[in-house]
Symmetry: C2
């Protein structure tokens, strides 16, 4: 497979970087081709602003409209175009980051905000009363796989189903479902390590071995069974899950997984 790792940690000698290198070695050993977008090393521009749309002639910046025009006319900036080309090249996308305030670091959110152009990652397909786009299981990136590698400073129990932080799969749902599944990726379960501020060599090796196993299985691991928007489970165009499809008592994000 062709693998793109988008990596977001400012320290080249961090635990995150060490795990990234473990993943790269395992993938390359298995014959996969790996490219890395190391956002800090690239000095990636995080904020969406007018400079992203050099061909914009309107006085007023409307980000979605500007993105649509720039993608359609090939006038996105070169750094964004290069990332889009990498996404089109890859069979597997890995977003690899430390969980900062229960979400992606700003620099990685800025990668999503800027690279996910209108017409590329959203605004794809027919939008009408009978169809609301190719998204959530369809879209430009359909047929490709994606997953998260996340390091969290807090305790695993704090992210458990009853933990005060909220369950980790729910905290990551806005990324796995709404950023990765949205433009079509099949999303694999996230790989998360906890209490990373208190890692010793033994814990690192255990995490590294678990990560190696995930990398060995990456072509065959079953994706999270999210429901396709256009697979018949949702009312169109309000996109609400039809009654009675879920197991009794299911609510919230869990509604959008089958079975």
């Amino acid at each position: 497979m062709k693998v793109l790792i988008v990596f977001a940690h400012p320290e080249p000698h961090s635990l995150s970087a060490a795990l990234r290198d473990v993943a790269i070695r395992e993938l390359e050993t298995a014959g996969h081709e790996v490219r890395v977008s190391d956002l800090y090393a690239m000095n990636w521009k995080a904020q969406v602003d007018r400079a992203d749309f050099p061909a914009l002639t309107e006085d007023r910046l409307m980000p979605a409209a500007a993105s649509k025009h720039a993608f359609a006319t090939g006038t996105l900036t070169d750094d964004v175009k290069a990332e889009i080309d990498k996404l089109l090249w890859a069979d597997l996308l890995i977003l690899h980051f430390p969980l900062w305030w229960y979400a992606m670091p700003a620099i990685l959110k800025g990668w999503v905000d800027r690279v996910y152009a209108y017409g590329f990652a959203y605004g794809v397909g027919e939008h009408s009363d009978t169809r609301w786009g190719d998204r959530f299981g369809e879209g430009t990136l359909a047929g490709k796989r994606a997953m998260l590698i996340v390091t969290a400073g807090g305790w695993e129990e704090h992210y458990s189903p009853r933990g005060v932080n909220g369950p980790i799969d729910d905290l990551l749902f806005p990324i796995t479902h709404n950023i990765l599944y949205y433009p079509g990726f099949d999303v694999l379960p996230s790989f998360v390590t906890y209490s990373t501020d208190r890692f010793d060599d033994a814990r690192f090796e255990a995490a590294a071995e678990a990560l190696r196993q995930r990398m060995r299985d990456v072509e065959t691991t079953a994706p999270i069974p999210y429901r396709k928007q256009n697979g018949g489970d949702y009312v169109i165009p309000t996109m609400q899950l039809k009654p009675g499809l879920e197991a009794p008592g299911t609510s919230g994000f869990a509604l959008h997984r089958r079975g």
Copy 2:
């Protein structure tokens, strides 16, 4: 009250900016004092990196440790110190942003990542087997109020309890509970407007009037009834909600609201 609005939209003539000005006028008319951190206008630096810790002597940047040291020794950068002073000054914090990919724009996430220093917003209070910090309802910012003003391009139905995006309150929970409640804020219900790409004058006026009402009520609106971490509802130190406290069938983020 003293009100700090942290605002994150790149266009001074955007719908978001117009709503911000509506809020400011209403607050000032009621006699409140308002300050605005307009992140784009300030050219706010989004990414956490080594430049945030000018006194750092270690070769390796460990962000939490560096933040702890810089806060304790008064060596945070001036832009971060100024935001911390504004937070200490304010009685009410408003984070005001467009929902981009179901989350904050990168520049605002970078405000959180950089301003929420160790010792200020986290790492506060005793951490032991019998107490895990002053957080989730306690902390440096306890006694203050906070809320979100959010503009979303998508349909309201898509964010409803069964909508494909996930329920809006769950999408915002990582901010309202894990960023605002965490350091002690009482968090008011979020103010959200939908389908903002299709606003006409009548819809703007309706949204503006609803926002004015929220601003008029801001001192008396009941906060979201999140559970205090140290209020007896959680097992310490694993911070899991004790059995039997929730209504039958409750799961996920909703566990952390009383009643």
